[in-house]
Amino acid sequence: MEKVLLRNIGVTDSHSLAVYQSRGGYQSWEKVVRNMKPAELIEEVKSSGLRGRGGAGFPTGMKWSFVPKDSPKPKYLVCNADESEPGTFKDRLLIEQDPHAIIEGTLIAAFAIQSHTAFIYIRGELVAGSKILERAVEEDCRAGYIGKNIFGSNYDLDVIVHRGAGAYICGEETALLSSLEGGRGWPKVKPPFPATHGLFGCPTVVNNVETLAALPWILERGAAAYAAMGTEKSKGTKLFSVSGHITRPGVYELEMGYPFKKFLEEDCGGVANGRKLKGVIPGGGSMPVLRPEELEKVNLDYESVQAAGSMLGSGGVIVMDDTTCMVRAASNIARFYAHESCGQCSPCREGCHWMEKIFHRIEHGEGQTGDLDLILNISGNIMGNTICPFGDAAAMPAAAFIRKFRDEFEAHIAEKRCTVSTQ
């Protein structure tokens, strides 16, 4: 499989403009500015089948086309570099080692919607990454890729790197925009949608780092080449962040549709230390965990994982072996969501902490019969009733752990301690 996203990783000084240019960088950007119209650019990306890689999987070209072309308001392109999904570290790799691919993708996307100001919103904790991006932007300004009258075409574009302040919720696009506007990182009620009323009330598109990083390749090799990879509905390649009890953790690039089991056992070397697989989360901490027997027919694409009852999400693969206490794992994840809930709407604000507290007391030997069904009920009451998908993200894993490992939870409650052998 030809690498699209990881093609520059591992090359010395891959983050520098000189190396990026020597490997063909910014030729796509030049082609777009000199030779393409926004409408044909949007069509090209639509035909590639590229879908958003932040977790939602929304078709990228279609998202761009929602921006009203004749609106008198300025348009904004925002690169969502707020990667915070538990178990996900693919964007960080690109930010630190291939920032120019991200920036070039950002520029191309900005051009597609005729934006003249693009923002890269990077999570506050990635201090080094933000400096790398800023330096890369400076290099581009000196080289004339960013700024006024780019390539003498009359097109102006400014890129601003903006650091967040440490909130998972700011990865949700409208919360990101609230934060970028200088307010609390609270998601906004929709409608209206960012495409028409986004940053400062202007038409805005928010794209994930990985999504944007694929654009230079797509423009260089053509939409058809990208669409030739992957499955019918999930085109191209995707990055997977593999962590946990696995022999070879790391970031992998796979063609969409690659068999999950094969990936874990062969490419990643199987469960570490010769232990047995107990459970694996396919797409980041907010996605339902899968038991080993559920992996038989699962391929790593959007449709296949969804058919198995989970979601591809951000591709954060978290591997758990048979020494893992699932009660503790669930409690851990519940604590994350309770901590990160923005607190704006009632079900999530109150429900996340409630679930965390129940998981906590189960884990510490004070669980009661009825606790499990209570958590399932609370989870069901949160799902679908919140302002943003955070509520769902908190509710799904809580319910999934209990449903998939009910016996273990019941034993933990009955015996007032963890019953998983750690031999």
Binding site: A167, R184, V189, P191, A338, H339, E340, S341, C342, G343, Q344, C345, S346, P347, R349, E350, G351, C352, H353, W354, K357, I358, H360, R361, L374, N381, G384, N385, T386, I387
Partner: protein, 529 residues
């Protein structure tokens, strides 16, 4: 407006494009429970209490932010909706302190009300409630309890959007979220206590009313604020015949949903102090109690024999009282100038949202009745100071110390050969009088005020005056009778009917139709210099 047809619970409703489901439902008489939604504030959509089922949409939608569309089918009582209301209430109650026995909001609390209506189940929460600051003073009139707060953000939006003073903000994250004063401010804008009205729970409560009386004991009477000539519509709420608080009443033509802090608490000053319950006449050694008969005869004699008399009416006198006062003075001292006590002051931008620059709620009505003119009160005071008058009839106003003229006015009043003062207490002005007559205050009056913009609005008596005290209009009628003009009015309604016959602007208005929203006069507003 473009009409749009939707169905709500199977019933067809014609509404208009641009309305939200919650608005369309309210207009059709279907109540959808809600906390954060308020018709005068921006949409927050955070309480999730108004979730309803929209046919063909997979997820429930919040009614406050869903625009109506042709053919939309809304279900407000489906099993899914009833279940989610229960769930939202449960979420709001798990960290709620359930302070009801010590919380002023009890009896008018939307958590209590909706719980009784939509939940009624025992708590399933046993894992330790979140704690927050309790009884935290936010400002001179408002006190905050963080544990009771449901973070609906109505108070924050009020200070951002209505008063534009931005004192409040949400701080912290998740279930540590709480309301706080932003940037070391104090919640002291001129409309600050309105946040108490709009807070659906007991998180923001009124310091003045704190722990005074349970709201279900209050007797509530619709009336008009006597603070200034804006004429905000109020509910005067009393307990054991004493006014306990004002609450604003909704009138989109006057005050919308609001009342200013000065108006809200003005009843203390206007009704307080030791009450005058019997007429008094000056004899050697000072004022002594007298009978109504003797006192009224003395008034008649004093005014008739006066060389130059003046009449000063309170700006809080009703149209009915003013109408009779004018007739009386015309009879007893025909050329006497009659003025309403009227003074203007500078208002800040925030105050101007609601307040008028005067303290005379009925100066406009009084003018219509023939009492008062532009600049007239100032010039009358001047004439008083220069000794142009030998007699005066002062109704319902403390002149000494009221306007800075203070002691100079005292000296001038003392020089009058006849002074009659009609008031609820023995004011400094009254202590100088030759005859003192007890009076009623606004809370005991029935009648009408005409506000600055020419809206006739009705006052209703919220409390009963002491038995020996006559209504001001009864006093004027008795004086007129003794003076030879017997008018057979026995209610303010009859007086209004009479004045409507004599004052052109009021012709055609029937007292019975004034109702609790008032009637706008044809002439429109009046400018006061």
């Amino acid at each position: 407006m473009d009409p749009v047809k939707i169905t709500i619970d199977g019933k067809e409703v014609v509404t208009a494009k641009g309305k939200t489901v919650i608005q369309a439902a309210a207009e059709a008489g279907v109540a959808i429970p809600h906390y954060c939604y308020h018709s005068k504030l921006s949409i927050a959509g955070n309480c999730r209490m108004c979730l309803v089922e929209i046919e063909k949409m997979p997820k429930l939608q919040i009614a406050c932010n869903t625009q109506v569309a042709e053919g939309m089918g809304v279900l407000t009582q489906s099993p899914k909706v009833l279940a989610v209301r229960k769930a939202v209430l449960e979420f709001l109650l798990i960290n709620h302190p359930v302070d009801c026995p010590i919380c002023d909001q009890a009896g008018e609390c939307q958590l209590q009300n909706y719980y009784m209506e939509h939940n009624r189940e025992a708590s399933r929460f046993e894992v330790g409630k979140q704690h927050d600051r309790k009884k935290t003073i936010f400002g001179p009139n408002v006190i905050f309890d963080g544990e009771r707060c449901i973070k609906c953000t109505r108070c924050v939006r009020f200070c951002q959007e209505i008063t534009k003073t931005d004192e409040l903000a949400v701080i912290n994250r998740g279930d540590h979220s709480t309301i706080a004063l932003f940037n070391d401010q104090v919640l002291d804008n001129p409309l600050s206590a309105n946040v108490v009205d709009i807070c659906p729970v007991g998180a923001l409560t009124d310091r003045d009313f704190r722990f005074k009386v349970r709201v279900w004991y209050l007797q509530k009477t619709p009336s008009v604020c006597p603070g200034c000539s804006t004429g905000c519509n109020i509910s005067v709420e009393a307990y054991q015949n004493r006014i306990a608080r004002f609450k604003p009443r909704i009138n989109e033509a006057v005050n919308s949903h609001w009342i200013c802090d000065e108006g809200r608490y003005c009843f203390h000053e206007l009704t307080g102090g030791e009450r005058l319950t019997t007429p008094m006449i000056r004899q050697e050694g000072g004022l002594v109690p007298a009978t109504w008969e003797n006192a009224l005869q003395a008034v008649l004699a004093g005014l008739r024999s006066a060389k130059a008399a003046a009449g000063i009416l309170s700006g809080r006198s009703t149209n009915e009282e003013t109408f009779l006062f004018a007739k009386l003075m015309k009879k007893l001292a025909p050329s006497s100038p009659l003025e309403v006590c009227y003074q203007e002051r500078e208002l800040s931008e925030t105050q101007k949202v609601l307040m008028s620059p005067d303290r005379a709620p009925n100066f406009r009505g009084a003018r219509d009745m023939g009492v008062g003119s532009n600049g007239g009160y100032e010039s009358l005071l001047q004439k008083l100071l220069t000794g142009d008058f030998s007699a005066a009839y002062v109704v319902g106003e403390e002149l000494i110390g009221a306007n800075g003229a203070g002691e100079r006015l005292r000296a001038a009043l003392q020089k009058l050969s006849f002074l009659v003062v009609q008031d609820i207490r023995l004011s400094e002005t009254a202590k100088l009088a030759h005859v003192v007559l007890p009076a009623t205050h606004f809370g005991e009056k029935e009648g009408t005020y005409t506000n600055r913009k020419g809206r006739v609005q009705k006052l209703n008596a919220a409390v009963i005056a002491p038995e020996s005290v006559l209504q001001d209009w009864q006093t004027f009628l008795r004086l007129l009778d003794l003076a030879g003009e017997k008018l057979s009015y026995s209610t303010p309604s009859q007086i209004f009917q009479a004045l409507a016959g004599e004052v052109a602007l009021y012709r055609g208005i029937s007292y019975a139709t004034i109702g609790d929203q008032g009637i706008q006069l044809g002439g429109g507003g009046v400018e006061q210099s």
